[in-house]
Amino acid sequence: MDWLADTLVLSRLQFALTAIFHMLWPVLSTGLAIFLVILEALWLRTQNPLYYRQARFWARLYVLNFGIGVASGLPMEFQFGTNWAPLSEFVGDFFGAVLGFEGAMAFMLEAGFLGIMLFGWNRVPPVIHFLSTVMVAFGANLSVFWILSANSWLQTPAGGSFSQGHFHVENYFTAINNPFMLRSVLHMSLATVETSMLVVAAISAWSLLAGKAEAFFSFSFRLALVVLLVVAPLQVLAGHESGLQVAEHQPTKLAAMEALWENHAAGEAPPWTVIAAPDENGGRNRWAVGLPGGLSWILEGRPRLSQDVRGLNSWPADQRPRMVGLIFYAFRLMAGIGIAVTALMGLTVLLWWRTGLTPAFFRRQAWLSWCWILAAPAGYLAIESGWIVRCVGRQPWTVYGQLRTSEAASQLPAQEVLLSLSGFTVLYATLLLFALVFGARIIRQGPDLTLEPPTGPVRGPLPLPTD
């Protein structure tokens, strides 16, 4: 149990644990916020109380989720100082500034308008309320932009130079708009919307199966399906694009994602490995099942490679990622779920067209509901797997090619980190359990179908015109 006394391992475990746990919550904070904007826009346009009740019901889940997201975000920020002080010093010029922007532009916007969105229905005019919901959604999605820009910069540092243990920014816009930024932001934004819609669809499918509030959940299921119709195929495309940018900029990560050990020269047609048993010590796969000639189709869309592809064995052991099996399977899990969800969406749209997707149809075809119920956790699993590929695959670097993870960690007594790591493990397991219990309670209770929309003048003279 040497790792119990190894500060670097413990700090990495703590970052991994807190990041994996934190990532569960911003999904709904950003994706479901867009859904709430759509619902409130429908309500404002049509004045149909159904849409108002939809907005209020989904907001209940939103707020339960939101608090944990905010709270579990705190250790993400502060860990850079406590456990990764050398990193903070090394990249503070850029990375710190971006976290500052995220706070000032995104978090504050989201937090400043959340109160009105949740509790202000009778306090402000409907238009201001709608604008508040838009601001919450906008703020949340801006934070996706900043965090992904910062993380992409760790993957493909740009916009300055490294000297004397520091990164010096020369051009901020180049640094923000680093090679990975655009496609990563797109991939993550689509992921939050897609998984949020899977959550809406799963809850709706479960309720329809149980025969609850049928008109209500038929509507939310269809709306989620319509959004997925756009988002799911786009995500497959964005995912593919993200893979290609890895091939271009991070050859060590690509080799680990594909469990490629040996080099392949241009002109070859190597197989695409579907499953394998990577053997890190032996520098090979114990066995592998592959599609003949598949790799060049995936990377270049042609029957033969036009460029060399390097295998892991071509780098010294301290220049390439470890845990190849984890990276390899996490990537397959993510991609597989993305494709499966798209297929499920396509099939369900087809059934909608043929049968009308009545509540009775849902009850008869329980398998369909179950597929959708399982798709929601699968969405979260895909997101977590994607982050594992992205960050474990970047190793041994924290700043790719520039700063090793071993050099980025604070020198701390191992017991201290072990203590905080154990604390987070117990705390987060408990929080997850209670979040599921209370989430399930909200879902079982279902929407309040007697809730009447706000009527009459809002309270008191307002500081802004009440159109």
Binding site: A71, D93, G96
Partner: protein, 337 residues
């Protein structure tokens, strides 16, 4: 040094002080109400206390996130050194803030509210105490090598003077929380918090006096600054103003005023803050590392200023709008419906 090399670190020191001040005032009453909720005599009253924070707690906490990001960007060395030195209390603060945030949402959905009431109150208390420990430790100085890296013990924060600062900060938060509740509640509940405000004002005053008297003995640098003739007028004026404000606070409480106790308390916070700021300036890692040594590059600070500087008035604007929208006494029926 160029003008900007001197000017930009000072600007960022002031901005950081502003963020920290806003945090300590806004989350201060937030945490104070949380601590006070432990003493609520009934579930109904506790619900009112928590409802008074419902629309704002998250934004109030965000000032801390913002302060962290700004410190990281403007003074990366200080960010690494201070947080690493304060490993223990920082994680205790995070634990406290997580507990109170989730208790807020879980309590809403729980049938048995008691465990979450307790979680909320204890989380608030833990966060306040840890913040006080951090403040006390930084003020009394962190030993660093010539490069500004922390070389002290991981238990540096565990001492009597930090404890005094922590206890005083808790009292201060309870005071500002009480005056906030005087503003937001009425009747019996309001009267209860007039009493807690009086009590907390007295204990905060005691703590502040103790800190003022002992600080010259805790740190040589603080002593030198306190008795520096150039700062003498400031350090004479400060306690006089403080006493005047305390007197006014007690008078307004006695007269049953609703708004003024809160205003006087805020002014007391501003005053104490100005005192602390002048005591440490230009150090960012007391006693020896200055803002000029710990700052990021000038281009970085200028860039951050153009983005964040422009946003400060906008952030203040919509935060104020939020407070205006929910002004007046807590009204649970209105906000639930």
């Amino acid at each position: 040094m160029d003008f900007l090399d001197v000017f930009m670190p000072v600007v960022w020191f002031v901005i950081l002080a502003l963020f920290l001040l806003l945090y300590v005032i806004l989350d201060g009453f937030d945490l104070g109400v949380g601590i006070l909720s432990l003493t609520s005599p009934s579930e109904q009253q506790r619900t009112l206390l928590m409802a008074s924070l419902g629309s704002i707690w998250d934004a109030n906490e965000t000032w801390l996130v913002l302060m962290g990001g700004a410190l990281f960007g403007a003074f990366p060395l200080a960010y690494g050194t201070i947080l690493k030195a304060l490993y223990g209390p920082i994680y205790l603060m995070i634990l406290g803030l997580i507990l109170r945030a989730v208790a807020f949402e879980f309590r809403e959905n729980a049938i048995n509210k008691r465990p979450w009431n307790l979680t909320f109150g204890i989380g608030s208390l833990l966060a306040a105490a840890s913040q006080g420990i951090c403040l006390g430790t930084v003020l009394s100085g962190l030993p660093t090598d010539v490069d500004g890296h922390f070389i002290g013990s991981p238990w540096i924060w565990f001492n009597g003077s930090s404890l005094v600062v922590a206890l005083t900060l808790i009292q201060g938060y309870v005071l500002i929380g009480s005056t906030y509740l005087i503003l937001k509640t009425s009747g019996e509940l309001q009267q209860l918090h007039v009493r807690t405000a009086r009590l907390a004002a007295a204990t905060t005053l005691g703590g502040a006096l103790l800190i003022t008297v002992t600080s010259p003995f805790v740190s040589e640098t603080l002593r030198a600054r306190l008795f520096d003739p150039a700062f003498l007028p400031f350090f004479v004026l400060l306690p006089l103003l403080g006493i005047a404000l305390i007197v006014q606070l007690f008078r307004s409480l006695a007269m049953g005023q609703e708004v003024w106790p809160f205003v006087y308390t805020v002014l007391l916070f501003v005053l104490s803050f100005a005192g602390l700021g002048v005591m440490v300036f230009p150090a960012i890692i007391p006693p020896s590392i200055t803002i000029f040594e710990a700052s990021s590059s000038v281009t970085s600070m200028v860039f951050m200023l153009t983005f964040i500087g422009v946003l400060i008035p906008i952030m203040l604007f919509y935060n104020i709008y939020n407070y205006i929208a929910f002004r007046g006494k807590v009204d649970i029926e209105l906000d639930k419906a």
